[in-house]
């Protein structure tokens, strides 16, 4: 009998734990949405901060984050996809692949502040880019590389081998097979990786602290060697070292909400694409 009682107790606890995790997420989301929704409107999204960042909007931060996303992905996406093509299609299962995979995992586990240090040392100081969109984008790009490589590899692995052998049988070369058969089939999954990296890049603060982010700029950046404001850094500034912390709280809630919405959209899109893909798989 006590066996049963133990089981009931243990399983009830685990169920409560499960509920607790759900509660934590909805607690955080609910709190930010509830407080942020009062501030976020069209004007908030399209105007500059005013009165020492206690009113106005967050337009330059949104634009800055947008630039950083574009900049980092222009650089990291092709590189990551090509790297995954190499490991999955060319390198076979040799020690090189194993080594590369370990390195990719290691790169993924390096803390983002270390990327920030590296970016500052190499891009800002050594290559003399200064605090700029370019330096920040390159740093963020390196940070998101492992994510792109991993998702692309998964995507390529999901392409049935029959497609490849079929293509070879028709006389296609390896590269033709990759271009015409493998990549189009894997495309939706690869895009999932791209979307997830957008989420990652838009939320990172530590790597851009010393490579790109500015406390406040009265103008939009005009070139890739300009500093930018960025959403996550703006939230940090508003929350901890604005001119008047209490007065800038509403602005902080609004910024946090915008960040959360980006993450929500990214996750929804990714799981939508994934779901669609699984359906396709079942059909074939």
């Amino acid at each position: 009998m006590s066996k049963k009682v133990n089981q009931i107790i243990a399983f009830t606890i685990f169920r409560i734990f499960g509920l607790l995790v759900v509660a934590i997420l909805f607690g955080i989301l609910g709190f930010i949405v509830f407080n942020g929704i009062k501030v976020v409107n069209w004007e908030f999204l399209t105007t500059f901060p005013k009165d020492g960042m206690t009113s106005g909007g967050i337009f330059p931060a949104i634009v800055g984050t947008f630039y950083l996303i574009i900049g980092s992905l222009i650089f990291a996406f092709p590189l990551g996809v090509m790297s995954a093509i190499y490991t999955n299609e060319y390198a076979g299962n040799s020690w090189i692949v194993k080594f590369i995979r370990i390195m990719t995992n290691n790169l993924a586990s390096i803390p983002s502040i270390v990327f920030g240090l590296f970016g500052m040392s190499l891009f800002v100081n050594k290559l003399n880019f200064g605090d700029s969109i370019l330096a920040g984008s390159l740093t963020l790009g390196l940070l998101t590389l492992p994510l792109i490589i991993r998702t692309t590899e998964e995507a390529l692995k999901a392409v049935p081998d029959g497609y490849r052998t079929g293509s070879y049988a028709l006389g296609a070369t390896k590269l033709q097979t990759i271009k015409r058969v493998v990549l189009p089939t894997a495309f939706p999954n690869i895009i999932t990786g791209l979307i997830l990296s957008v989420g990652r890049v838009s939320g990172e603060t530590a790597p851009i602290l010393f490579t790109a982010a500015a406390y406040f700029l009265p103008k939009l950046p005009s070139g890739i060697f300009d500093q930018v404001m960025a959403l996550p850094y703006h939230l940090y500034v508003l929350a901890t070292n604005g001119t008047d912390l209490e007065a800038s709280r509403p602005m902080a809630y609004g910024t946090a909400l915008v960040l959360i919405v980006i993450v929500l959209i990214v996750n929804l899109l990714a799981s939508f694409l994934r779901g669609k893909l699984e359906k396709n798989k079942k059909n074939t």
Binding site: I24, T104, P111, I113, N125, T240
Partner: protein, 404 residues
């Protein structure tokens, strides 16, 4: 026609070469990170202890030849007041900073471009036996009555085992990383103490108890938790958890090690849950069924069969959780209060390695000792996480070998 074909062939070859080169990109990045971090960081041990551009002088009658940066700091903080305590004669220490010269002489006595300043400084130092003067190099007096204290380079022992982190201390900044390392470990380990039981519970729930529909609901929730930017966690911690901790525990400030670890626990949950769940789901069906067929309850099967089987996967989950916690910067910086002292209680403010880098690098001039010390902190962090990641790899490989 054939020309185009040849051209195409060349392009194809180039593309394939590009694939090969890209394959090495992560390895090259890691190599570059190692190179640049250590290059900047290691320079610290070739940097003199005394602040750049300054030197410390004493009267030539003084028997003391050199002082450690800790002793220098204590002298200039008036904690040591007699030369006897640092191996000299029984003589009161008289501290002299460059600004003090203006109390003894009027501005006009130094000449137009301060060219007479070194001479005046010389007079002051040679008159006073117990003086210790902290002066800019360009005004350094040169005479047999004045002796320059030898300045050693910062050494590794003081850095790694030093108990004080005071980068702005004059004349010699103190870079002892012990409080930061201990702060990081304290916050991370406490976070793990909270997150591991919770995360494993949820993993068991997901892999053994939840139906397909519940799983479908929970998975995106966990992914979302992982996707929320750390600065948002920090902000949430700052406006919700910090005041809550302060009120319920009746302490003067809510920004404590404890608060930081609560936030970190939430942040490392997704990693722990998904890695542990994967490991548990990998338990072969036959093992579960054999256990159930022997009359074991489902719970007995979980803790006698599944958990032991998934042991290495679960350890990997814990290790990766630590990795996530140790490197977290923004959230921790926003809620732990950032006092760089060796933690004595979990309800006091602490400062972690990443938070120190983030908070101070902006103010440290490039190439300065402070800058180098922060890069060396980055190296420590890098080495920590590399060890963690490699051991996680190693542990989960064990699991994989068992499964095949």
């Amino acid at each position: 026609m054939t020309n185009i074909k040849v051209f195409r062939n060349i392009i194809d070859k180039i593309i394939e070469k590009l694939f090969t080169i890209s394959g090495a990109v992560t390895s090259i990045t890691i190599l570059l990170i190692t190179l640049f971090l250590f290059k900047e960081g290691i320079g610290l041990f070739h940097t003199p202890e005394v602040e750049r551009g300054y030197k410390v002088f004493v009267n030539s009658q003084n028997g003391v030849e050199e002082l450690s940066s800790l002793k220098l700091k204590e002298i200039f903080d008036s904690e040591i007041t007699n030369w006897r305590d640092v191996g000299g004669k029984d003589l009161d220490i008289k501290i002299f900073r460059i600004d003090d010269v203006f109390r003894l002489y009027s501005e006009s006595e130094f000449g137009e471009n301060y060219e007479l300043l070194p001479q005046k400084l010389n007079e002051i130092i040679s008159k006073e036996d117990g003086i210790i003067a902290f002066l800019p190099i360009q005004y350094a007096p040169e005479s047999p009555d004045v002796k320059e204290l030898l300045s050693k380079n910062i050494n590794a022992k003081d850095y790694f085992f030093g108990k004080e982190w005071i980068p702005t201390a004059t004349p010699a900044p103190l870079f002892g990383v012990l409080p930061l390392v201990l702060g990081t470990l304290l916050v991370s380990i406490m976070a793990l103490v909270m997150a591991v039981p919770l995360g494993l519970g949820v993993a068991i729930y997901l892999s053994e108890l939840a139906g397909e529909n519940q799983r479908k609901l929970m998975k995106p929730i966990i992914e979302l938790l992982a996707g929320i930017p750390s600065v948002v966690y920090g902000f949430f911690g700052l406006v919700v958890i910090v005041p809550f901790v302060q009120k319920t525990l009746q302490i003067p400030v809510g920004e404590t090690a404890f608060t930081g670890s609560v936030v970190l626990a939430i942040m490392s949950l997704p990693t722990i849950i998904s890695v542990a769940e994967d490991a548990m789901r990998n338990t072969p069906r036959s093992m579960r069924e054999a256990s159930l067929a022997l009359g074991a309850t489902k719970w007995q099967t979980v803790y006698k069969v599944i958990i032991p089987y998934a042991k290495s996967g679960i350890s990997a989950a814990v290790v990766l959780g630590i990795g996530r916690a140790i490197g977290e910067t923004m959230a921790v910086m926003m809620v732990t209060g950032n006092a760089a002292v060796i933690p004595v209680s979990i309800f006091e403010s602490v400062r972690t390695i990443p938070a120190t880098i983030a908070a101070e690098l902006g103010e440290a001039p490039t190439g300065d000792a402070h800058y180098q010390a922060l890069f060396l902190l980055g190296c420590i962090l890098f080495v920590f996480t590399m060890i963690i990641s490699i051991s996680a790899e190693f542990i989960s490989k064990k699991q994989y070998n068992k499964a095949s």
